[in-house]
Amino acid sequence: MMKSVSFILLLTLTVACGKGGSGGGGSSEAEAVAPSLVGLTPEKVVSGSKVPEAAQTFETSGVDLMSMSAKQEAKMKKALEVIRLVIATEEFRKKVLNHKFLGKKTFVDNGGLTNAEIYQKILEGAEKFKLSKNNTMDMGVEMYSDSSNTVGYTYPSATQIWVNTKYFNAYTAAGVAHNLMHEWLHKLGFKHSATANASRPFSVPYAIGYIMMDIGKDFL
C-alpha cells in the first residue's frame, strides 16, 4: 500500500516538474517577441480606429494537427484560416474590448486582466507551456469520439487539445474555429466554471469563442 502511494506521489511530482506542467518552471527557451508586437501596449490596443499590426500578422501555423484523416485535416485548416481572418478584423477587436458582464466592460474569470490586456494576450500568443510571444497560435490538436456533450477539452499541463468528432463532423468551419479558440484560450491560462451557470458564457473562453464563431460565419 505505502509503496503504491509513494509511486503515485513520485509520478505526480514528475508530471508537475516536467515541461508544460502547471507547477513547473515553464519553458527554458529564451522569450522571443514577434516584431509586430514590439511596443504594443493595452493603451495602444484601445486607441485608434484600426487594428494593431499584430492582429494582421497573427498566425495559426503553430497548430499541429495530429493523426487526422485528410478530410478532417482540410476542415481543421479551414477553421484555422477563419481564426486568422477573424483576428485581423476590427470587429473582433471591438467586440473583445467592449465585452460586458453586468453592464461593466469585463469578462468573468478574467485573471485580473482588462479587456484590452486580454486582447493583447491573444495577439501575443504566449501559451503557458511555451511563454514565447510569437504572435502565433501554438498547440497540438487530436480527435476523439465520445457521446457526451463535451465539444472538446484540454488539461492545464497539456500542450494539445482534444476535439470530439461528434460535434466536429456537424460543425461548420466557424463552429470548429469556435472550439479551437475556446480551448486555445485555456492554453493561454484562462479558465471558466466547470458547471454551467449564468456567468459562464461571459468567461474568456466561452465569450471570445462565441465572438470568433459569429464573425467567422462571414468567412465560410
Binding site: 505505502m2 502511494v5 509513494s6 503515485i8 506521489l9 505526480t12 511530482l13 508530471v15 508537475a16 506542467g21 502547471s22 507547477g23 480606429s49 484600426k50 487594428v51 494582421q56 486568422r84 481572418l85 485581423a88 478584423t89 476590427e90 470587429e91 477587436r93 471591438k94 456533450n149 463535451t150 465539444v151 472538446g152 477539452y153 484540454t154 488539461y155 492545464p156 499541463s157 460535434y167 456537424a170 460543425y171 461548420t172 468551419a173 466557424a174 463552429g175 470548429v176 474555429a177 469556435h178 472550439n179 475556446h182 480551448e183 485555456h186 471558466h192 466547470a194 454551467a196 473562453p205 466561452y206 469563442g209 462565441y210 464563431m213 464573425i215 460565419k217 462571414d218 468567412f219 465560410l220
Partner: protein, 86 residues
C-alpha cells in the same frame, strides 16, 4: 494517510479538465442571407482588384480603403462592420 491525501490532491489539480460543453447555436451555421451577402461582397471587392483577405490582408484593407465609396450599399455596410472603415 497524509501521503494519500496529498497524492490525490496533487493528482486532481493536474488532471482537472478544461472543457467546452455543447450549447445550441454553437455549430456556426450562418443564415443563407448572411452567406450570400458575404460571398457577394468579397466577390465585388475581388473584382475591384482587392483580392481576398486570406491572400494578403494588408493589400485587401488598403484596396478596400480606396474603393469604399464605389461599393454597393450592402457591401459597404458589410465591409465597415468587419474592417471598421471610416
Amino acid at each position: 494517510m497524509k501521503t494519500l491525501i496529498l497524492s490525490f490532491t496533487l493528482l486532481s489539480s493536474f488532471s482537472a479538465l478544461a472543457t467546452q460543453e455543447y450549447t445550441p447555436g454553437s455549430e456556426g451555421v450562418p443564415s443563407e442571407a448572411r452567406l450570400a451577402t458575404a460571398h457577394s461582397c468579397f466577390k465585388e471587392l475581388a473584382d475591384l482588384g482587392c483580392g481576398h483577405p486570406r491572400e494578403d490582408v494588408n493589400h485587401f484593407k488598403s484596396c478596400l480603403d480606396q474603393n469604399l465609396e464605389n461599393l454597393t450599399s450592402s457591401c459597404k455596410t458589410f465591409a465597415k462592420r468587419l474592417y471598421g472603415q471610416d
